[in-house]
């Protein structure tokens, strides 16, 4: 199965195109495993609107096949930047409607957790939610983020709640994501383990979206919505 995936929930624009083996593992086939990312320069805004379709186009060109060869589109539904999510999902729904390729929504927190999980440890995925808060979801040591519903459901937490959330998942919980870097001190004091700031585990790669989507049934694209996790009214009352 060939899956085209992208994620625009964080500052990084991430796109991947992958042929999956048949079976439960959804391991990438060596034949086609392409990924492109673009990180905005420090202090500059994410370039999702400009970059997303450019990167998709480049990957399709490299693959030597067009939309006819794609079996599924996977789009990150966040949580993350509201505008980023809308650019990603508006694009995904349009590509799906126009090409006829089914669309799957993938949790960005789940995609972050997949490569970090293992070695018998719990995993907490954390995305910086701005305003001093964090979006989190967590999997216990016996769970598999690739297929399992997270024991700690996606939600927004204040810094003082973060250490307890990691500890509740299991001892020496592995914490990853740009929110893990942002709130490193809080987690470390609570006994969690965080890879070095520059570790790729903290950054979203759309390759995991391909694997997750390969194991999910396609849904009607109207049912795919961003995981905002915060009410729009909150924005209004702040304005």
């Amino acid at each position: 199965m060939r899956v085209l995936a992208f994620d625009t929930a964080t500052a990084r624009t991430a796109v991947a195109l992958m042929d999956l083996e048949a079976g439960d593992n959804a391991r990438p086939r060596a034949v086609l495993d392409l990924a492109l990312v673009d990180d905005p320069a420090p202090g500059t805004r994410p370039g999702h609107a400009r970059l997303l379709l450019e990167l998709v186009h480049r990957l399709l060109e490299r693959s030597g096949g067009g939309w006819d060869a794609v079996d599924r589109i996977a789009a990150g539904i966040g949580p993350g930047s509201f505008t980023g999510l809308r650019i990603g999902l508006a694009t995904a729904k349009a590509l799906s409607a126009s090409s006829g390729v089914p669309l799957v929504g993938v949790s960005t927190l789940q995609a972050l957790a997949v490569p970090a999980h293992g070695r018998g440890k719990a995993t907490l995925a954390v995305i910086d939610a701005r305003r001093g808060e964090a979006f989190v979801a967590g999997w216990t040591a016996v769970q598999d983020p690739l297929t399992d519903v997270p024991a700690l459901a996606p939600q927004v937490l204040a810094p003082e709640q973060l250490a307890a959330a990691a500890a509740a998942l299991g001892a020496a919980c592995s914490v990853i994501g740009d929110g893990a870097v942002r709130f490193r001190d809080v987690f470390v004091r609570g006994g969690a383990q965080i890879p070095a700031d520059e570790s790729p585990l903290h950054r979203v790669s759309a390759r995991e979206h391909c694997r997750i989507a390969g194991l999910q049934p396609a849904a009607p694209s109207t049912s795919i919505e961003p995981a905002y996790l915060r009410a729009a009214d909150a924005e209004a009352t702040r304005a």
């Binding site: 370039g47 400009r50 379709l53 809308r86 650019i87 090409s99 924005e235």
Partner: protein, 332 residues
């Protein structure tokens, strides 16, 4: 062009999609007004943007269904690039680029104000340049010298502060009416004396630019001066006098612009064009007048499709890297 043009407009709080023919005939023009901003007294960008994403797919489906068309018949996709609310614009613009990209169709990035002018080009009116255009809406108030089909805009004047529609909304709010308040204020004004209070129309401001901020303040002070019971008793008079000032402010500059350009023909666009007293006053100017039907005056995608006929259609993949813009015009 023999095929159809599919256009999307999401620059403010209306989610719009339309299908027109290459000759400028409207096949469908779907507008989904959100009507969720009332309790905030204005458009909240985050709320508007969430609704755009939720509504866009059904609105697009409906535009194609109502046109009796499928994507296979679409030869050009167009979307509003700006000006407007960036978070709202990127929803429709991303969708437009995506729809075009998956089929390697050409794509036209349309300026919203060019769209308002191009509403007049649509059939059956086919009001052709040259003409003077007055665009007055909740987000824009301007006069343009339309000598050709665009996209270059020859701006003669524009508002220096509030838009005319914004003045209506803010006045309506002061008088205890809901949002958007233009139509409610007009209804209330119908039972009042437009000469009861003398509100300023910025008559002494020379040139063709508009200003409505002083008018809004004048109404606020008048309401305070009268006191609550008296202001309540004379609401209709206040509304009528306030409306008269807005219409006068528009008329003064339209007359000046007609004189300055020598134009004998006038097209009006924007939501304020639905205002009865304004239409009546414009009809007495003695020039050939074109006021498109309401669905083409307020924000809509048929006008964006119309403008797309005269905009540069970019071939795949030249448009993939385009982004929206919040202010200004014509970045192409």
């Amino acid at each position: 062009m023999t095929g159809l043009i599919l256009a999307i407009e999401t620059s403010c709080d209306d989610t719009c999609a339309a299908v027109i023919t290459g000759a400028g005939e409207i096949r469908s023009n779907v507008i989904s007004s959100q009507q969720v901003h009332d309790r905030f007294g204005g458009v909240v960008p985050e709320i508007a943007s969430r609704h755009h994403l939720a509504l866009l797919s059904p609105v697009l489906d409906e535009a194609l269904r109502a046109a009796g068309a499928t994507l296979d018949q679409v030869e050009l996709v167009a979307a509003t690039r700006g000006p407007g609310l960036v978070t709202a614009l990127v929803v429709g613009f991303s969708a437009g680029k995506g729809l075009a990209a998956a089929r390697e169709l050409p794509f036209a990035a349309v300026d919203h104000l060019h769209g308002h002018l191009a509403a007049s080009f649509l059939r059956p009116a086919e009001f052709e340049p040259p003409f003077l255009a007055l665009i007055a809406s909740g987000g824009h108030t301007l006069l343009a010298d339309v000598r050709d089909h665009g996209p270059q805009l020859r701006l003669l004047g524009q508002t220096l502060d509030d838009a005319a529609g914004e003045a209506f909304d803010k006045g309506a709010r002061l008088l205890g009416l809901g949002y958007p308040g233009g139509a409610a204020l007009e209804r209330l004004a119908a039972g009042g004396d437009p000469r009861a209070f003398a509100f300023p129309a910025a008559e002494r401001m020379p040139g063709l630019d508009f200003s409505f901020a002083g008018l809004k303040t004048a109404l606020l002070y008048k309401v305070r001066e009268l006191g609550e019971p008296e202001a309540e008793r004379r609401r209709a008079d206040l509304a009528a006098s306030y409306q008269r000032a807005i219409v006068a402010a528009l008329l003064i500059r339209v007359r000046r612009a007609l004189k300055q350009t020598g134009a004998r023909r006038l097209a009006v666009g924007g939501g304020v064009a639905a205002n009865g007293p304004l239409r009546a006053a414009l009809a007495e100017l003695g020039v050939e007048l074109e006021v498109p039907p309401p669905a083409l005056c307020t924000d809509n995608a048929a006008m964006i499709a119309s403008a797309a006929r005269y905009s540069k259609a970019l071939r795949f993949p030249a448009y993939l890297g385009l982004d929206v813009y919040a202010t200004g015009a014509q970045r192409l």
